[in-house]
């Protein structure tokens, strides 16, 4: 438990308290109708944005096809649940999957067995996405860079979308819903988000993370320092697709989505989130994800918003994007991470300087 000794205790405690508050909100949110949906989306969008941030923010390679990898996670989860459902129907004869899940999902609350189902599905989906990401990375990362890499990933993701669209078992053009049989809760999504955040932090703190950052700053120098640049890029890309797969699979348990939605639109959405939050800033991505989900799912449905804008959310969205890029082009948090220092500053005005110095270390 060396890591525990070396942690900044104050930050640790604040973070734990913050997570606990979110947990409580997540648990009690199920009482309301709209809140769980918004929370789910916030957590899932955060996960997917973090995934993209690894490649775009940390590795510095620009990817336009993130939606395609989320789609693979989503599709895998859907197929898995369909297959499990068939398996149950076959082997148990009269007992249908749905009836088992009546036991699993009782009274709106997810039974522990349901959690196990979802978690296993998500893990399998993530692994499959990671494998595909690994193959794509292996082929594309060595040969292409810059905008060309971005465009090729976009092309590949549109191929995924086209393929998924052509299979009726995936709902064809409209997407299929598995949420009618089993759906997840904000609590589970929050747990995934926290776990992934810790995973990314520890990963980036290791030599692999350092290599990724070195590749971002200078490929040639990194190679000259003994960093296997291509391998590092493939590792980062695979890691990113793994997390994208988790995001996609979790989405499958929240709402049905048409394959076409995972194309250009979703890829760009997550690019916007990470740039808005600040490239490379993990907490920035989460904050931006919160803002975007709130804008789409809360702001635009409020009665006091003029009808014209409520009907055309893209206009305000576009204006805000352009303004932020013009006046704060490094995003909301820039390169920095969200810390609790400001919170303590509220109480201790005198020791301001000392506090920041300690906080930085």
């Amino acid at each position: 438990m060396i890591w525990f000794k070396r942690m900044n205790k104050r930050n640790l405690i604040s973070t734990v308290v913050g997570v606990l508050v979110l947990t409580l909100i997540s648990i009690f949110s199920t009482k309301s109708y709209e809140l769980p949906k918004i929370l789910n989306l916030i957590f899932i969008y955060s996960i997917s944005a973090l995934a993209l941030n690894i490649v775009c923010g940390c590795l510095g390679e620009f990817v336009l096809g993130h939606g395609g990898f989320i789609l693979i996670g989503y599709t895998t989860a859907v197929i898995l649940m369909q297959q499990i459902s068939k398996l149950f129907t076959k082997s148990m004869g009269k007992v249908y999957f749905k009836e088992i899940l009546v036991y699993v999902v009782r009274g709106g609350e997810l039974h522990p067995m349901g959690y196990v189902f979802i978690i296993l599905t998500v893990i399998v989906a993530a692994l499959i996405t990671a494998i595909i990401g690994f193959v794509v990375g292996l082929i594309a990362l060595g040969r292409l860079k810059g905008d060309y890499l971005a465009i090729v990933t976009l092309g590949i993701s549109l191929i995924f979308v086209n393929v998924c669209k052509n299979f009726d078992s995936l709902g064809g053009g409209t997407g299929i819903s598995i949420t009618t049989t089993i759906s997840s809760t904000p609590l589970l999504n929050l747990a995934f988000l926290v776990a992934i955040l810790i995973l990314i932090l520890t990963f980036m703190g290791s030599r692999f993370g350092r290599n990724i950052l070195a590749c971002r700053d200078d490929n040639i120098a990194a190679e000259a320092c003994g960093v296997p640049v291509n391998k590092t890029k493939v590792i980062a890309f695979t890691f990113s697709s793994l997390l994208a797969g988790i995001g996609g699979a979790l989405l499958a348990f929240v709402q049905p989505q048409a394959p076409t939605a995972f194309g250009q639109d979703m890829s760009i959405l997550f690019l916007i989130i990470i740039v808005l939050g600040g490239l490379g800033s993990l907490t920035g991505s989460i904050i931006a994800a919160i803002l975007i989900v709130l804008y789409e799912n809360w702001f635009c449905v409020q009665s006091w918003v003029p009808e014209f804008f409520a009907n055309n959310p893209k206009i305000i969205y576009g204006i805000i994007l352009v303004l932020i890029m013009l006046f704060r082009s490094s995003g909301i948090l820039g390169k920095n991470e969200f810390t609790w220092n400001w919170f303590y500053k509220l109480f201790k005005k005198k020791d301001n300087k000392k506090e920041t110095l300690e906080g930085d270390k």
Binding site: I139, K165, N166, L276, K314, I315, I320, L321, S329
Partner: protein
């Protein structure tokens, strides 16, 4: 055999339209190294404007004559050019001045395209049908000839004229060009103007034979195809953009013609598959130049 010929013919027409639009993407990218996502909205704006003007002219003395079409075309070009100037001046130039990263420029372009697309959606969310000025056969010849003429003119302009040479200088090295006394803001604005004018011409030719369209014509119906065409051909290369345009136009039309064997639903897989394969073997496109980083 006839179907194949029919497919090729349609493909050439569609290809020349894609080529015109691809030229815009290619020139802008060549000069500011930015994927101008707003280009697809320029296409939509051009289509919308041409539609509304022809609709009102049809009721006037011009009626169904070729003049209505020409006036609409010129108006569409002018408005597209103005929109491009405004976009460049108020969204892209401030970014360039600050030396922002390219990803910032890209997000700004996406923001601009959202604004335009939102406005267009608000103006007319329903499907429209353009007036049928010419039949399919004539529009085929118009498309081919326009593209050939414009490509020749542009090549001459870029290779031989003073402004064209300045344009190439700015795309090679903006700072150095500036120091040599080139007004690079003007050159970049001019590139945007040419690009959007080509977009307007392209979309009018596309609609010419009575095509139906919506506010999503630029972003969804035509979508990324011209951009992909520009990349296949090698971004920054004029003949490359045209070759790419023809390639994609032909693939698209042929899959359309053979829809009875289910090819049409796989069109994206085929186009993007070919696109990815070409880029893997020729990382900077068919006619693009390979740039090696110096140590």
């Amino acid at each position: 055999m006839n179907t194949l010929l029919e497919g090729l013919k349609q493909g050439l027409e569609l290809g020349s339209i894609f080529a015109l639009m691809a030229l815009g993407y290619s020139m802008v990218y060549g000069i500011v190294k930015m994927i101008n996502f707003a280009h697809s909205e320029f296409i939509t704006i051009g289509g919308f404007l041409a539609y509304f003007i022809t609709e009102s002219l049809l009721k006037s003395t011009f009626g169904n004559s070729i003049w209505s079409l020409l006036i609409a075309l010129v108006a569409a070009i002018i408005v597209c050019v103005i929109v491009a100037i405004i976009t460049e001046r108020f969204a892209y130039r401030p970014l360039r001045k600050k030396g922002s990263s390219r990803i910032t420029a890209l997000i700004t372009a996406i923001g601009v395209s959202y604004i335009f697309s939102g406005i267009m959606n608000a103006i007319e969310p329903e499907q429209l049908q353009f007036h049928k000025f010419v039949d399919k056969n004539t529009s085929f010849y118009i498309a081919i000839i326009t593209t050939a003429v414009l490509l020749a003119l542009l090549t001459f302009f870029v290779k031989k004229t003073k402004i064209g040479i300045a344009m190439r200088a700015v795309s090679e090295n903006e700072q150095a060009a500036k120091l040599m006394g080139i007004n690079n803001n003007f050159i970049i604005a001019l590139t945007f103007m040419i690009g959007s004018a080509l977009a307007a011409i392209g979309v009018v030719i596309y609609l010419l034979d009575g095509e139906c369209f919506t506010f999503e014509i630029g972003s969804v119906t035509i979508g990324l195809y011209p951009f992909v065409a520009a990349v296949i051909g090698g971004i920054g290369s004029l003949p490359g953009a045209v070759i790419g345009g023809f390639l994609i136009g032909i693939i698209r039309a042929i899959t359309q013609v053979y829809s009875n064997i289910g090819l049409s639903s796989w069109v994206d897989t085929i186009i993007y598959g070919i696109f990815v394969i070409i880029l893997l073997f020729k990382p900077s496109g068919l006619l693009g130049k390979d740039v090696r980083e110096k140590v």
